[in-house]
């Protein structure tokens, strides 16, 4: 008896079983929809604040010098190949989702070991010119070891999220639009109308 045969219900059961399966599938899609699951396939930083516990990270990044050149994924997922990128993202995402659903999120979110490696590699990926210097390697003793034996943020502690990012440290999330989406209209309508009518 093949597997398919074994799970196919007898004729008189087909209708109710299909109904139940459809119900379950529908419920599954509903969960995907309310959780805004599709957004996690994108690189949009707004996807990371679907869960409001990430808001402090979002706000601190939005106020940093990295805001205009990076999004969350530029640093927090690997970029060596696309499969690895999505695999890492999925694992991280599922971990986040589980912790969040069980309401176990800490007051201050910190990176776990695998994430630290990913971020460190991404620092180097963009800042290659700043962290390698052939001249220095040639005449400074232990230069390479000194350079590679610690994480960038051991010194650059404020980059990019600052040092205070607990859930309670952040005020209201009302940000001026970032420069990229700045409004292009600086004159309120009432002034425009009055100046027009008085001409």
């Amino acid at each position: 008896m093949s597997f398919l045969k074994r799970i196919t219900p007898p004729d008189q059961w087909i209708v109710p079983v299909t109904l139940v399966c459809g119900l379950m599938a529908g419920l599954g899609f509903y969960v995907l929809r309310v959780s805004n699951a599709v957004s996690y396939l994108s690189d949009d930083p707004k996807a990371c604040i679907n869960c409001h516990v990430m808001t402090p990270e979002y706000i601190t990044w939005d106020h940093s010098s990295h805001q205009s050149v990076t999004v969350c994924n530029d640093c927090h997922v690997p970029h060596n190949n696309v499969v690895n990128k999505y695999y890492f993202k999925a694992m991280d995402g599922l971990y986040h989702a589980s912790i969040y659903t069980m309401r176990m999120e800490p007051q201050t979110i910190t990176m776990r070991e695998p994430s630290q490696h990913v971020v460190q590699n991404n620092c180097i990926r963009c800042h290659m010119d700043q962290v390698t210097d052939a001249k220095m390697s040639a005449w400074v003793e232990n230069h390479e070891q000194n350079r590679t034996s610690r994480a960038c943020w051991e010194c650059h502690r404020e980059t990019p999220h600052g040092r205070v990012k607990s859930l309670a440290a952040i005020g209201a999330f009302i940000e001026p639009l970032s420069v990229r989406q700045q409004q292009k209209e600086f004159v309120p309508d009432w002034i425009k109308q009055q100046l027009k009518s008085s001409k």
């Binding site: 007898p10 008189q12 059961w13 139940v20 119900l23 379950m24 419920l27 599954g28 509903y30 969960v31 309310v34 959780s35 869960c51 409001h52 808001t55 402090p56 706000i59 601190t60 106020h63 940093s64 969040y100 659903t101 999220h161 600052g162 040092r163 205070v164 990012k165 440290a169 952040i170 005020g171 209201a172 999330f173 009302i174 940000e175 001026p176 639009l177 420069v179 700045q182 409004q183 292009k184 209209e185 600086f186 004159v187 309120p188 009432w190 002034i191 009055q194 100046l195 008085s198």
Partner: protein, 503 residues
């Protein structure tokens, strides 16, 4: 009917558990989404043109708390700071230069925005109104003092706002310069709320909406920190002292002077020399625009409201003040030198410009008094015409260079040039005057007056300060409490809308 086996029962329960867990997950997602409606949400909903700064402060505690520091009046630098300095006391020559104009009654170095409304009520220049329709100053004087201004302009109309006396709107304008003056309450982006700046851009053939965000960080300041005049002859608005920036031909001292000459405008006629004078208000933006920092794209906010951080959040410090009180966050962001070094550089510029400024003021004092002497000896209008024009131009240039307080740092080379050109015009005038006085039979030096103190200078110009102060006290006692009471009643009805609702 098939017989129910054990595995069917199991299957039923397994399905039920799966469905139960899925629903639980859906419910959890929905409830956490609802939470986010409340987490990090603003406290209140801001109405368009909400004038009360403390209401904005509910949503933006950091910005508001730093804005409140503009209360602080302890910092004093070589030439400015937040301390209120009696400028007539410091430099009694000003009393002579502005004789016949309210500025000779009282003129103080400015302090923080927090005091904008208090100070305009207290200054002797605004006189002592006894009720609506009285007092020397027009309603237009309120324009730069408060976020109540855009509110009121929106309610009663721009022309109506500019009409009438200063005292007419005393109960309407009570909140000091603040949030709504520069911010859009919905997006928090910068915005322009004063029509005069928009119109000035139009007059120059520019559209202010084309500005970049960085330019806006200066333009919100340029709504007020600029040269302006009240035009009473605008077609269709005759009689209304309409606020205009004289930028049609450009922002340089010569461009504005030419513009004023062309429309034949003068602020007042000098009490001694009878010259048709111009009062430069505070062309801060115009002069800054000619300086090196403007050229490099540095905005007003970059130095006067630099970024700071608190609780891990970077934000713009709304303690608008002299950068010299905050060198670390302003100058040293770009300049690596020691604080002392940087401050010394600023002071050197101010001192060097100041040296010539003083010489120029002395020449201007002499000009006014010698012109007065010429009138005394029976000079004719015809004799005096060119001389008075020289006096007008020389003092306009001096005032343009000195009135914005920060000019000699913002653009030292331009200010140096303006002072020299004023000196040249002034000396021309004195030559003409010397010849005229000689033909009138007066061929000697007119002694320089004793104006070593403010009191002596004001006495010489016939200003009865005691009487002015007495009137002011009456006004403070009788009128201001009424204004405040009316304002309080109005604001009680404004209410405050909570931002978060379960809708």
């Amino acid at each position: 009917m098939a017989s129910i086996k054990k595995r069917h029962v199991l299957l039923f329960f397994a399905t039920a558990v799966a469905a139960f867990l899925l629903s639980l997950l859906a419910n959890s997602i929905i409830s956490r989404k609802t939470e986010s409606k409340f987490a990090y949400q603003p406290m209140v909903q801001l109405a368009d043109n909400e004038p009360r700064n403390q209401v904005w402060g509910e949503n933006f505690p950091r910005q508001y708390q730093s804005f409140l520091k503009t209360k602080d009046t302890t910092f004093q630098s070589y030439q400015g700071g937040s301390k209120m300095v009696d400028m007539l006391d410091k430099d009694p020559r000003l009393v002579i230069l502005w004789a016949g104009y309210a500025f000779s009654k009282e003129y103080n170095a400015p302090r923080g925005h927090y005091y904008a409304v208090d100070d305009i009520r207290n200054i002797l220049r605004t006189g002592a109104p006894t009720g609506p329709g009285t007092g020397p100053m027009p309603s237009t004087c309120w324009t730069c003092k408060s976020p109540d201004v855009p509110r009121l302009m929106n309610e009663i109309g721009i022309d109506e706002f500019y009409s009438g006396k200063w005292a007419d709107k005393g109960s309407e304008v009570v909140n000091a310069i603040g949030c709504a003056d520069c911010h859009n309450p919905e997006t928090m982006s910068l915005r322009i709320t004063r029509p005069a700046l928009i119109e000035a851009f139009e007059a120059m053939g520019k559209d202010i909406n084309e500005s970049s965000h960085q330019e806006m960080r200066s333009l919100v300041c340029a709504q007020c920190h600029v040269e302006y005049y009240f035009n009473k002859d605008l077609p269709g608005k005759e009689g209304v002292p309409y606020l205009v920036f004289p930028w049609r031909d450009g922002m340089t001292v010569e461009a504005m002077e030419g513009y004023y000459d062309e429309i034949n405008f003068s602020d007042w006629t000098h009490a001694v020399s009878k010259a048709p004078m111009l009062k430069a208000q505070h062309p801060g933006y115009e002069i800054y625009s000619t300086g090196i920092h403007a050229k490099r794209g540095v905005s007003c906010a970059d130095c006067h409201m630099p970024y700071t951080s608190e609780g891990g959040q970077k934000f713009t410090d709304h303690h608008i003040q002299s950068p010299l009180n905050n060198v670390t966050n302003s100058c040293q962001v770009c300049h690596r030198q020691d604080k002392e070094d940087l401050v010394a550089d600023v002071y050197t510029r101010q001192q060097k410009i100041g040296e010539n400024m003083e010489k120029l003021e002395k020449v201007l004092v002499r000009l006014h008094l010698e012109a007065g002497k010429a009138w005394e000896l029976g000079a004719s209008e015809e004799n005096m015409k060119e001389i008075l024009q020289d006096i007008r131009h020389a003092q306009w240039r001096w005032d343009y260079a000195v009135a914005s307080h920060g000019a000699s740092f913002h653009s030292p080379v331009e200010v140096g040039r303006v002072v020299s050109s004023a000196m040249e015009v002034a000396e021309e005038g004195r030559l003409k005057l010397a010849r005229l006085l000689a033909t009138l039979g007066f061929n000697q030096e007119l002694p320089y007056p004793d104006i070593s103190t403010k009191a002596k200078a004001q006495q010489l110009m016939g200003i009865d300060r005691a009487a002015l102060e007495k009137e002011k006290e009456e006004f403070k006692k009788n009128i201001i409490p009424k204004w405040l009471e009316e304002a309080k009643k109005r604001e009680e009805n404004m209410g405050m809308k909570k931002a978060v609702s379960m809708k």
